[in-house]
């Protein structure tokens, strides 16, 4: 090691100290569990532990792909996330544009602040509220239906309705929060462009299509890539959402991969199977992140952004 480098390291010695707690934490709580991935290839039992349980190669994985419940959990995961993106991706954009158009006022600030609220509330509470509001007998939704001379609907007992209810609630929960990014992008559009357009006689609609949307297109693109990249690891249809919103009657449609991992691993103590699923999940997440990253880099290269 040459002298200059050594001197620099010495100069920054306190910084390394600053980093020490974080590094220790990450090693212990993020990297160490990776060793446990061995369990995916073992017929794990608690007595033998991680290093003495019999090694079974890809048996756990083969078993998984023959498991109807596992395949169903995959279907539910893909369907829920897919529909959620299809419906919920564009809504925050539209809302942000609406909010941006508003004149600054107490009304604007208050309503905006209100829309952020559900993002900060836990799914435990939200599920409790949803069940209460959709209750077949006392729920406000059914009070309304009965007032309109319709039959009450036992919402949370209907497997066919679960996806829609969950997605609507998930959108409701996050839509306010998701406008923040787009509002930032919108505020970056130079006002002169709009002023010039107005001088040229452009209507509100034309301004929207020819100025607003093209200007925030990069942000929309990036957010889309971001959403896809985090589909597995950080989706709004999270484990917490499923765990609290599901019930035995709708399980065929509610149970996603995360939930199934929990079910097999924690409830049924099938560590090997659950770890195998976790590994698959992690791989899928990795593929998505790298793929999304690659795509965004290629897009940027072509100068579109």
């Amino acid at each position: 090691m040459d002298v200059a480098l050594r001197k620099r390291i010495w100069r920054y010695r306190t910084m390394y100290l600053f980093l020490l707690p974080a590094v220790i934490l990450i090693v212990v709580f993020s990297y160490a569990p990776m060793v446990g991935l061995i369990m995916a290839f073992e017929d794990y039992d608690i007595v033998n532990g991680m290093f003495r349980s019999p090694f079974v190669g890809f048996e756990n994985f083969k078993h998984l792909f023959r498991d109807a419940d596992f395949l169903r959990s995959l279907r539910n995961t893909v369907a829920l996330n897919g529909i959620h993106i299809a419906i919920g991706f564009t809504l925050p954009i539209g809302l942000a544009i609406l909010i941006f158009e508003m004149q600054d006022s107490a009304f604007k600030r208050i309503t905006q602040t209100i829309t952020y609220l559900p993002h900060f509330v836990s799914w435990v509470a939200i599920a409790g509220i949803v069940y209460k509001l959709l209750d077949e007998y006392t729920g406000v939704a059914n009070i309304l239906l009965r007032a309109l001379d319709r039959e009450a609907i036992p919402f949370m007992r209907r497997p066919d309705l679960f996806w829609w209810i969950l997605i609507i609630v998930a959108i409701w929960k996050e839509i306010g929060w998701e406008t923040i990014i787009y509002l930032a992008a919108l505020s970056g559009i130079p006002a002169e462009q709009y002023e010039a357009a107005v001088v040229d006689g452009a209507s509100k609609w034309q301004q929207l299509i020819y100025i607003t949307l093209p200007s925030i297109a990069p942000t929309i693109g990036l957010m889309f890539i971001f959403t896809i990249a985090h589909l597995v690891t950080n989706s709004p249809i999270s484990f917490g959402a499923i765990y609290n919103m599901r019930n035995a009657l709708v399980s065929e449609y509610s149970d996603t991969l995360d939930y199934y991992i929990f079910l097999q691993g924690i409830r049924r103590v099938r560590y090997g199977i659950a770890t195998a699923m976790g590994l698959l999940r992690g791989l899928a997440g990795l593929v998505l992140v790298l793929g999304a990253n690659g795509i965004s880099r290629r897009i940027r290269k072509y100068g579109a952004f």
């Binding site: 920054y12 980093l19 707690p21 990776m34 508003m102 900060f120 406000v140 590994l279």
Partner: protein, 293 residues
């Protein structure tokens, strides 16, 4: 203050106002419903339809939940993990982020990568579960705090913020003989209050809303935070609930339903009061963080 214009709202403005009003209503109403339910007399609530107003205003529900032994331990634990968790995370992430903002430090890129990669790859639920057991963190309050000192996402936000602090400030202090510790705590830290507020908020809300780790790692009910108590009450049926509530229960004014709503309000109210004040800060934090990612 903007000057008041003549009341000529264009159609688009009208539509926007209607949409926003609708959205605000749809967002607030579920919480309002729980609030009025928590102030309702249980018997009246069962007989009439509660829609906009409590049925027979009463404080009995709130008085009753104070009789649930677990409420005290759960509240203390929730407060503890929120406060301790925030202090812990701010300290560890703050120090690390500042170090990583020193771009000319040897190994900066490698260390950054090392700390960021776990955002994308992880052992998963089971390996982590096994680890916590091995670390003797089962039924241990530290399990709420220790693992959560560093989140890469928070680090990115803080580091970006530290990048905006002119290097001259640290430099001139160093020339006056100040140590790195002094520089960080006397100069950088006070300047970083906005970003610290963001991290504190994110971490605090996460800690307050956490329930899964409690479920996984705790078998003793007195170690559970408030969210889990709420969850338990939401799931249990009538007979269980009655037995859960020690002490005097007056079934006339209290029911599992009203109790559920009351506990729910207690868990949600702190958040509702806190987050509007941090609005300005976390908006900036989100913008910075997203740009980085």
């Amino acid at each position: 203050m903007t000057t008041r214009r003549k009341r000529k709202m264009s159609t688009s403005q009208l539509i926007t106002s209607v949409v926003m009003l609708f959205l605000a209503f749809v967002t607030i109403y579920p919480f309002w419903y729980c609030l009025i339910y928590s102030f309702s007399d249980a018997q009246l609530a069962a007989q009439t339809n509660i829609v906009f107003w409590p049925a027979g205003f009463t404080l009995q529900n709130y008085r009753s939940i104070l009789k649930i032994g677990q409420i005290y331990s759960a509240s203390s634990i929730s407060v503890f993990r929120t406060v301790a968790g925030v202090v812990y995370a701010v300290m560890i992430t703050g120090l690390a982020s500042y170090a990583l903002s020193q771009r000319r430090m040897p190994g900066n890129r490698a260390l950054s990568l090392f700390l960021i990669i776990p955002m994308y790859i992880s052992g998963g639920l089971l390996p982590t579960y096994v680890l916590m057991n091995k670390l003797r963190l089962f039924n241990n309050l530290l399990v709420y705090i220790l693992p959560h000192g560093f989140w890469a996402f928070n680090m990115l936000i803080m580091r970006t913020y530290f990048d905006t602090i002119p290097a001259e400030m640290a430099e001139s202090a160093r020339m006056d003989g100040a140590s790195d510790w002094t520089i960080f705590f006397r100069i950088i830290f006070p300047l970083a209050m906005p970003v610290i507020a963001v991290i504190a908020m994110f971490t605090g809300v996460w800690q307050w809303n956490s329930w899964f780790d409690a479920q996984l790692y705790m078998t003793k009910p007195e170690l559970l935070p408030l969210q889990n108590v709420l969850q338990a009450f939401l799931r249990r049926n009538q007979a269980d609930m009655v037995s859960l509530m020690q002490g005097e229960i007056r079934p006339q004014t209290v029911s599992p339903e009203t109790i559920r709503m009351t506990i729910l309000i207690v868990t949600v109210l702190p958040i509702m009061f806190v987050y509007p004040f941090f609005q300005k800060h976390f908006i900036r934090g989100v913008m910075i963080g997203a740009v980085k990612a």
